[in-house]
C-alpha cells in the first residue's frame, strides 16, 4: 500500500514565481501540493503543512514581504502556526514570515547591493527539526540562492538569544556568505520549532540533473513530518 500523501498547500501572491517549482518538488516527494491564492481566508481542511514560496510579492514595494503579510491567507497561516502547524517560507516566503513576526529578524538588501544567483554551500546546524530530519548534523548542502534582499539581520541581543535557543538552523559555509547576513545565517527556526524560513531555494535543487538534489532533504523532511502529523491525528 502506498503511503498517505499529506496536503501541503503552496500560497500564491501576485508576484510569486517559485510556486510551481515548489508544487512540483513537493508532489515528487510524495505530497499533494495545491496552489492557493492569497485572498483565501482559510487553508484547505486537510492541510498538514504550508509553504510560502519565493518571488516578488507585490513587487517588493516598501520592504520585501511588508505588504503580503496583510493578505487574508496570512491570518489563516498565523492561526495554523499558532496551533503548531508546520510552515516553511522560502526566500520571499521567509521575508513575509519575518515581516509578519512569525520568524525573528528581518531581511535587508544584500550588502553588495547586487542580486545574487548561484549555488551556495550551506551547513545544517540541527537535525532534530521537522525541516532537517533527513539531514545529518553539520551536513554540507549545496542549494541555489537568487535574491536581492537576503541579508538577514538581528541585533546582538536577539542574535544571542536565537543562538542560545538553537534557532539559527542553517548557515552559509564559512567564506560563502552571499549577502552579508549576520552570523552567516541562511535560515531561521521559530522558538516553537514549527516555522522555518530560508533564503536558499530547496525547490530548485531536487534533481541531480539540475546540479544538486540537496533541496530534497529539506522538502522531504517536511513531507515526512507532515505525513506523521497526519497519522498522529487519525
Amino acid at each position: 500500500m502506498s503511503e498517505p500523501r499529506p496536503v501541503i498547500p503552496v500560497v500564491v501572491w501576485p508576484g510569486s514565481n517559485d510556486d510551481r517549482d515548489a508544487q512540483l518538488a513537493l508532489e515528487r516527494l510524495g505530497a499533494e501540493a495545491p496552489r492557493i491564492w492569497h485572498t483565501n481566508e482559510e487553508l484547505p481542511r486537510e492541510t498538514a503543512a504550508v509553504v510560502l514560496p519565493g518571488g516578488f510579492s507585490y513587487g517588493d514595494y516598501l520592504r520585501c514581504g511588508a505588504i503580503a503579510r496583510f493578505s487574508p491567507v496570512l491570518r489563516a497561516v498565523e492561526a495554523f502556526a499558532a496551533d503548531g502547524g508546520l510552515v516553511l517560507g522560502i526566500c520571499n516566503g521567509f521575508q513575509i514570515l519575518t515581516e509578519a513576526g512569525l520568524l525573528p529578524g528581518v531581511l535587508r538588501p544584500n550588502a553588495s547591493l547586487s542580486f545574487v544567483c548561484r549555488d551556495v554551500p550551506l551547513r545544517v546546524e540541527r537535525t532534530d527539526t521537522p525541516f532537517t530530519s533527513r539531514c545529518v548534523e553539520g551536513q554540507a548542502l549545496t542549494i541555489p540562492v537568487k535574491h536581492g534582499d537576503g541579508c538577514w539581520f538581528a541585533d546582538d541581543a536577539l542574535l544571542g538569544e536565537l543562538e542560545a535557543n538553537g534557532q539559527l538552523m542553517l548557515r552559509y559555509a564559512p567564506g560563502a556568505n552571499p549577502n552579508g547576513a549576520v552570523a552567516d545565517v541562511a535560515g531561521v527556526l521559530s522558538a516553537d520549532g514549527n516555522v522555518f524560513g530560508l533564503m536558499p531555494h530547496p525547490e530548485h535543487a531536487v534533481d541531480s540533473l539540475l546540479g544538486s538534489d540537496d533541496g530534497a532533504l529539506i522538502l522531504g523532511s517536511l513531507v515526512d513530518a507532515a505525513r506523521s502529523s497526519l497519522t498522529a491525528a487519525v
Binding site: L62, R63, A66, I67, F70, E99, G105, V106, R108, P109, N110, A111, S112, L113, C151, F153, A154, D155, G180
Partner: protein, 80 residues
C-alpha cells in the same frame, strides 16, 4: 491634512546604499563622512484634527511604514 513620514535606518544598521552614495560624493570632491538613505512617505489624511492625525500616523508607522527592528521614523504635519 497632509503629512510627511520620514523613515531612516537606525543608527548602527548597515546601509550599503548610503555607503555607495557617500563614496560617490567623495569622488566628486565633497568632504563628507557619512550618508544614510531613508524613505519619505507623503500622506493625505481625511482628518483635520492634529492629535487624531498623529495617532493614525504612528499606527501606520508601526503596522506598515517601518520595520521597528531596523528603522526609525519622524512625522511632520503640514498645516492647511
Amino acid at each position: 491634512m497632509r503629512a510627511t513620514v520620514l523613515v531612516r535606518p537606525k543608527p548602527g544598521i548597515l546601509d550599503p546604499q548610503g555607503q555607495a552614495v557617500e563614496s560617490s560624493l567623495r569622488h566628486l570632491g565633497f568632504k563628507v563622512s557619512d550618508a544614510r538613505i531613508g524613505r519619505l512617505v507623503d500622506v493625505d489624511l481625511a482628518t483635520d484634527d492634529k492629535a487624531e492625525a498623529l495617532a493614525q500616523l504612528e499606527r501606520m508607522c508601526e503596522q506598515l511604514l517601518t520595520n521597528p527592528l531596523i528603522e526609525s521614523y519622524e512625522i511632520e504635519l503640514e498645516h492647511a
